[in-house]
């Protein structure tokens, strides 16, 4: 049966080729709304693709959502696929999505670490990092959430290439990170940035590398509360929220610390289900409920961004 947007199985995990094919299907389904953009190439040469949802305008303010920066957290890429379908279906039908897309572009990067993701399907399901070769070490890969130029190298990441939180030889050493950095800088008008991980049911905002409070901490905290209330209203899933360093631990070189320091006020990280039954080995049966509840929180953040221009 030819694959189509309607026959695609959203309640199952997919490999890299299937996700990239899905992105092409989506762009073909509604080219007036959706386009696929390649923003770079991974260390092993795979295209780094994002979806752009736009109803017109030039350099409109934009919202960025990414999933799968830690490749083994499969429920995040699977949720990204569901978000893409909701944006496609929602425009013109869902008042909130329509209003957001009438004012903002939305960029969605479903597979933010394609080399690592391909490796989880082919060789090692537990792989988390990139697949770059570390000179002088037999250990491979850098933690792409420790490689950003925000507190890079301070406590909260490792200098050991064999560690799962290895920061890399320098900030932005990973092409997967550099591609986003370059895109964000060249676009220059991104107003919200959400990076999605799993697991442990948390909604986090800057900072992670320092105990210094973010200038907008009060607003970010209030918005996080509103978002997690919306999330738990669907299935009762309980989330905690707060700054990275006060809620979990010191983590340096992190994505949203960098985006916040670029001036993107609404910078958030999600840690999706669960709290400790399956960890990131979440059964496929939980993909849809996880994505649905997360979508409610994402809409709260996107609506707030729409209603609070800065």
């Amino acid at each position: 049966m030819p694959l189509s947007i309607e026959t695609f199985n959203y309640a199952s995990y997919h490999n890299l080729d299937e996700i990239y094919d899905f992105m092409d299907l989506l762009a073909a389904e509604k080219p007036s709304l959706v386009s696929k953009i390649q923003i770079g190439r991974s260390y092993e040469g795979r295209p780094i693709n994002i979806l752009k949802f736009s109803t017109g305008g030039v350099k409109r303010p934009a919202i960025w959502i990414d999933t799968g920066i830690h490749s083994r957290e499969w429920v995040t890429q699977a949720s990204g696929i569901v978000f893409a379908k909701k944006l496609l279906d929602g425009y013109g039908k869902d008042a909130s999505v329509t209003s957001i897309l009438d004012h903002f572009d939305i960029f969605l990067e479903i597979v933010t670490n394609p080399d690592g993701f391909a490796f989880t399907h082919s060789k090692n399901r537990m792989w988390r990092k990139t697949r770059s070769i570390n000179s002088g070490s037999s250990c491979v890969g850098v933690d792409p959430n420790r490689n950003w130029d925000a507190g890079f190298g301070v406590a909260g990441s490792s200098g050991n290439p064999c560690s799962e939180t290895y920061r890399g030889p320098r900030a932005n050493s990973e092409p997967e990170v550099k591609a986003i950095v370059d895109f964000v800088k060249s676009h220059g008008n991104i107003k919200a940035f959400v990076s999605i991980h799993s697991y442990s049911q948390l909604l986090l905002y800057p900072f992670g590398y320092t105990s210094k409070k973010a200038a907008d901490a009060q607003e970010l905290d209030a918005l996080a509360k509103k978002a997690v209330d919306a999330l738990s209203s669907l299935h009762g899933t309980q989330y905690k929220y707060g700054s990275i360093i006060t809620t979990i631990y010191q983590a340096s070189g992190g994505t949203i610390d960098w985006t916040y320091e670029q001036g993107i006020k609404y910078s958030y990280t999600f840690e999706l289900r669960d709290t400790g039954r399956y960890g990131f080995m979440l059964p496929a049966s939980q993909i849809i409920p996880t994505a649905e509840e997360t979508w409610l929180a994402l809409k709260v953040i996107m609506e707030h961004t729409r209603d609070h221009p800065y």
């Binding site: 090692n124 537990m126 064999c162 399956y278 990131f280 059964p283």
Partner: protein, 93 residues
């Protein structure tokens, strides 16, 4: 393809900072091949760690000898991986 037969994921509950440090000491022993899914940070937060079969006995003895509470979060990791693969392949039909 790496297989995880006999690997277990333990959920460790450190009672205090000293016990967190004891678990951190484990983290330094690279030949144990431990994979921390949730890192040892402070007592309020659970620690989740994947332990290969070869290291399992040693790690459990170490935890018990330091009175560090733990439970088995995932009994047989390979079973979950197999289920996932089966579900994905079934999707094709």
């Amino acid at each position: 393809t790496e297989n995880f037969v006999g690997h277990q994921v333990l959920r460790i509950s450190a009672a205090d900072e000293a016990q967190v440090d004891k678990v951190k000491d484990l983290e330094e022993l690279e030949d144990l091949q431990l994979d921390f899914w949730r890192a040892p940070v402070h007592p309020e937060l659970p620690i989740d760690v994947r332990v290969p079969f070869a290291s399992l006995q040693g790690v459990k003895v170490y935890l018990e000898s330091h009175d560090i509470d733990y439970s088995i979060m995932i009994e047989d990791l390979q079973e979950l991986v197999d289920e996932e693969q089966l579900h994905m392949s079934r999707r094709h039909f």
